[in-house]
Amino acid sequence: MFSVQQGNHMTISAANLRRALFSLLLLAFCANAPAFAAAGSAGAMPWWGWPLSLFVVCFFLGIVAVPAGVGGGVLFVPIVGGFFPFHLDFVRGGGLMVALASALAASPGLLRLGLASLRLALPLSLLVAVSQIAGAMLGLILPAAIAQTALGVIILGIVALMWTAKKAEVPGIQKADPLSAALRINGIFHDTARGQDIEWLVHRTPMALVTFVFIGILAGMFGLGAGWANVPTLNLLMGVPLKVAAGSSSLILSMTSSAAWVYINQGAILPMIVVPSVIGMMMGAMIGVRLLRVVKASAIRQMVIGMLLFAGLRALLKGLGIWL
C-alpha cells in the first residue's frame, strides 16, 4: 500500500504515484484472474470470492473514475459485464445503482458551492427521467447477445468521444436563449484556480433538451449513468462552464432514478452485486479525490480510455459470440 503525504514535503512524485496506481490496478485485475478466467463457470470459485472480487475491482474503478472525470457506471457495466459471470440484467442494475449512489453522495456539496445548478438540472432531469424509463424497459427485453453487442458499440463510441471531445473551461455565453431566460437558468460560482467569481448563462436550450432525451434512453438501456454524455452536452452545446457542467451532470444523475426503479421492480437489483460495488466505488472515489491533487488527470484519463477500449471490445466480441 502507499500513502500520500501533503504539506511541507511530498514523499511520492506524481510519476511514481502514477506507476504505483497502475501497478495496483494490474494487481487488482491479476488478483481477480481466477474470476475472469472462470467467467461463466460459477463453480470455480467459492461464492464469497465473487462479491469480494467485485469490491476490489470497484474500489480501483472508484480511484480512477474521479481523476478521469467519468462516473462509475460507464466503467462498471462493460468491465463487470465482460469479466464476471453475472447476467447483464444484474450488471446493468448494478451500474445504475453505482452511478446513482456516486452522484447522490457528491450532489449536496456541489449544490452548496454553486458547482451544480438546480434550475439547470430540473428541466433536463424531467426529460431524462422519462426517456430513461423507455430505455430501461427496452434494455430488459433485449436478448442478452444483442444487448452485449450494442453495449460494445456504445462503449467504443464513448471511447471515441472521450478521445476527441474538446472542452471549454468557461465558454462565456453573452446572450441567453429565450427559454433559459424564462426559466432563469444562470448562476455564479467561485473558480479557485482563477481566484474569481464567474457568472454564467446558457444558450441552445431547446436543442439540449432533445439531446438529453437520447442520452436518457441510452443510459436507461445500458445502465451506464450518463456523465460521459451530459458533460459535453452541457459544456459544448449549452455553454455551461466546465466545472458547473460536471457538477450539474452529477446532480442530473442523482435526480433521475426512474431507470433504477424499473430495474428494482423487475428484480434486477441483486444486493450481493450492488452493495459491494457501491461501497467499493465510494471508498475508491474518496482516494480518487485525494489523488486528483497529486497526479496528472490526463494520464489517468488515458488509462481509463484504454480500459474502456478493452472492455468495449470484450463486450462486442462476447455479444458476437467470438470471445465468450
Binding site: 463453480g43 434550475r119 424509463i133 432514478s257 444486493p271
Partner: protein, 135 residues
Amino acid sequence: MTDPHKYASPEQLRYAKVLSLGVQTGFLILVVSFILYMAGVLTPLVPVDQLPNYWGLSASEFAKATGTPTGWAWLALIGKGDVLNLLGIVVLASVSAVSTLAVLPIFARRGDWAHVAISVLLVLVLAVSAANVLH
C-alpha cells in the same frame, strides 16, 4: 466563499440539506443490512452459497427460479437477509424525489410556477416508475 447564499439559492441549499440527510440514512441502512445479511443474522430468501447457480440467469428467470418477489412484493419478505438490503436501495432511489418536494414551497412562495410545474412532473414520473405500473 463566506456567504453560501452568494453561490447557491435558498432552494438549492434546502435541496442539498434534505438530500444529504436522505443519502446518509440510505447508506447507513444499506451497510447495516448488508452486514446482517453476510453475518447470517437473518436467513436469506436465496442461500448465499446457492447464488452462483442463479445469477447467470436473466432477471425474470432468476425471479421464477428462486421465488424472488418483483415490484413491491418484497416488503412482505423484509425479514429475509437479502431482501432487507432493498430497503437501503429504495431509500437511495427515493431521496431525490423527497428533496424535490422539499423545495416546492420555496418556488411557490416566489411565484415561480414554471419550476413548480417541472418539479411536480418530475416527482410524478419518479412515482410512476416506482409504482411498478409500467410493463
